[in-house]
């Protein structure tokens, strides 16, 4: 599909918008509907679009499997680590209120970091799954 001019142009125009939207959903998650899950899926859909138009290899140059595994793991670590930090600060696991001086700010920071972790993991896992299936060649 890479030869199709319309697709190429349109996708190039669309991808940044989709990513921007993903970031919006990501960081507005603590105020309005949204959050890591949705943002991650939206973000990965941008890449999927790129893959469909420009092919798997082009995408893999930018996002090799190893990087995806790393970000997926990093997301989980971010999530779990935030909880542990609040644990070390003397509170319950995932008690964000202790992350900053005031409980309010702490909750904000906590939610944002956690959602970031979720977003990273969901996006990279979605991509990993897609890559795995897309790369599969028929055995015999």
């Amino acid at each position: 599909m890479a030869d199709n001019l319309i697709l190429r142009v349109m996708s190039k125009a669309l991808i940044p918008v989709i990513i921007l939207f993903a970031l919006y959903v990501q960081f507005h998650g603590d105020y309005s509907p949204g959050g890591g899950f949705q943002a991650g899926v939206i973000f990965s859909s941008a890449i999927l679009l790129y893959v469909m138009v420009f092919g798997l290899d082009a995408a893999a140059k930018v996002l090799p499997d190893k990087a995806l595994i790393f970000t997926a793991s990093f997301g989980v670590l971010l999530y779990a680590g935030t909880g542990v930090v609040s644990l070390f600060l003397g509170g319950q696991y995932l008690n964000y209120s202790l992350l900053a001086n005031t409980a309010m700010a702490g909750q904000h920071i906590g939610i944002i970091v956690i959602e970031l972790g979720v977003g990273l993991t969901v996006a990279s896992v979605m991509l990993l799954i897609f890559f795995t299936f897309a790369r599969r060649t028929r055995v015999e």
Partner: protein
């Protein structure tokens, strides 16, 4: 205080370790981390259990949100015991895993294997520890998804279909469970299990409550492989890598049984369950499971599939005990849960060792292997005797308790079934012993060993030692029943106490 933190650490530790393993991507480090994490968890779970064995309850409010709004981890004796089983088996499996995994899993997949293993472990632990029924569902999915991946890593290509079937059915079961939880939420407006137990009896819409009950039970029954819904189990266990079949056979169904107990006796109450005819159904299904599972086990020609069918039978005993709806019956079930984990893990470990040596565990190919591997064989015999229920082993303790419970209620047919089940167990265990010891050894037909012939010479010490630890614990806990019996009794007392749900 420290015991409270333990409850969350148990889940967090593997949760932290799993991604780190995936990032580092080195098989030896992956194994070392898995082992250290599981051993730490074992120590913590022992510590935690010692804190709750007297009947006290640990509450842990996640994120500082008070229940019933926030998620709560709530550990009583019942949880503590099941968590201990999961941790203990996980630690033993991790110790056993190194060499077996090296042989059975392609090298580049090993770190991911341990990653999935830890995720599965954490999922099972989470199910045990949480006091929130939706959180329980999440952990159920975590453990199930990772176990699908683990099973699919088996060398036999049938592992893929087995895993896929399990995936479809497991998802179906989880969905049933989820719908049930949703209906219960609709009826009461809460997801906290302790809170549910207070509010369910007051719910206005009893049809909703009943439907939720039915859905939850059917969903969990599938996960626990209770008789008519057991179809996924034999293939999943017998085609998985040996380490996976050890771990899952000893923990996964046990945890599902725990969920069933928790839902029946805690979320819903004994009185509620008594009125549903479910106990009778459970007893009948348990009885049929014992006979059917044992019969099928006799007919098998492979060691692992035989053990898998025997698991179906053993789950039948547990279900029967639950179905009696008495303290004695439930105690028997819990003890059997503990004991069966020990012996099944030991038996699958022995099967794993045979696979390590002969590359397969079908009877045809392991003929006479017991004489070449006397130590493995001896440990296997101990565990197998325990499966029969020979006195001095753990199997006897649980069968004895179950018989007592059945006699107490005058369930004579069940008494007969239990005894017949033991006799059938003798037959299939005998078949195994005969194949391994009495049939003449044929030329070893090693097929498709990846790492060359030097592996075939000896059984690795780490694997043999773990097997023996479990085999000896089969005897130890058969003689010193303090841990299993007292814990189970105290757990049951809490469940049956009038205020059991409200604490």
């Amino acid at each position: 205080m420290i015991e409270q933190q333990l409850s969350i650490l148990l889940v967090v530790l593997p949760l932290l370790a799993a991604p780190i393993i995936a990032v580092i991507n080195r098989s030896s480090i992956a194994w070392a981390m898995t082992l250290s994490v599981t051993v730490c968890c074992l120590i913590m779970s022992v510590w935690m259990l010692s804190g709750v064995v007297d009947g006290s309850v640990i509450h842990y409010e996640l994120g500082g949100w008070a229940p019933p709004w926030g998620i709560e981890y709530r550990i009583d004796t019942l949880n503590g015991l099941v968590a201990l089983i999961v941790c203990g088996i996980a630690a033993a499996t991790a110790l056993y895993a190194k060499r077996s995994v090296e042989q059975e899993i392609p090298k580049h997949q090993i770190p991911m294997f341990y990653c999935a293993f830890l995720l599965c472990f954490l999922g099972l632990l989470g199910i045990c520890l949480t006091g929130d029924i939706f959180n329980l569902f999440v952990f159920l999915e975590v453990s199930s998804l990772s176990s699908y991946a683990l099973i699919a890593m088996g060398r036999n290509r049938k592992a893929l279909t087995a895993s896929f079937h399990y995936l479809v059915l497991g998802t179906l079961g989880a969905t049933f469970f989820l719908i049930g939880v949703g209906l219960a939420y609709g009826a009461t407006g809460t997801l906290n299990m302790a809170d549910l137990s207070v509010r369910l009896p007051q719910a206005v819409d009893t049809h909703l409550v009943n439907t939720a009950f039915a859905l939850i039970v059917v969903g969990v029954a599938l996960k626990a492989a209770i008789y008519p819904l057991h179809l996924w189990l034999p293939n999943a266990y017998s085609f998985a890598p040996s380490v996976v079949s050890i771990f899952l056979s000893a923990t996964a169904t046990k945890v599902a049984i725990y969920v069933l107990i928790r839902c029946l006796f805690h979320v819903y109450s004994v009185e509620y369950v008594t009125n549903t005819l479910l106990p009778q159904l459970l007893i009948v299904m348990g009885g049929v499971a014992v006979l059917y599972g044992s019969m099928r086990a006799i007919g098998q020609t492979g060691m692992r599939k035989m053990l898998a069918y025997s698991s179906v039978a053993q789950i039948g005993y547990m279900i029967m005990g639950i179905g009696f709806l008495t303290e004695a019956g439930l105690t028997a079930s819990l003890i059997h849960l503990f004991n069966h984990a020990l012996m099944k893990a030991a038996l699958f470990m022995a099967a794993g060792l045979f696979i390590y040596r002969a590359n397969t565990a079908t009877f045809e190919n392991i003929k006479g292997l017991g004489r070449e591997m006397p130590w493995t064989f001896a440990a296997m015999v101990i565990a197998a005797l325990s499966l029969i229920g020979v006195p001095g082993t753990v199997g006897f303790v649980s069968k004895w308790q179950l018989l007592q419970a059945a006699l107490e209620e005058n369930h004579w047919p069940m008494v007969v079934i239990i005894l017949v089940g033991s006799l059938l167990a003798i037959i299939y265990v005998w078949k195994l012993i005969e194949v391994l010891y009495f049939q003449p050894r044929e030329k070893m037909r090693v097929t498709g060993v990846a790492s060359g012939s030097e592996n075939i010479g000896r059984s690795p010490i780490s694997m043999a030692v773990t097997l023996w630890i479990l085999a000896l614990s089969c005897i130890y806990f058969g003689i010193n029943t303090e841990l299993s019996m007292d814990t189970a009794k105290s757990a049951v007392e809490i469940l049956f106490a009038a205020d059991g749900g409200q604490r």
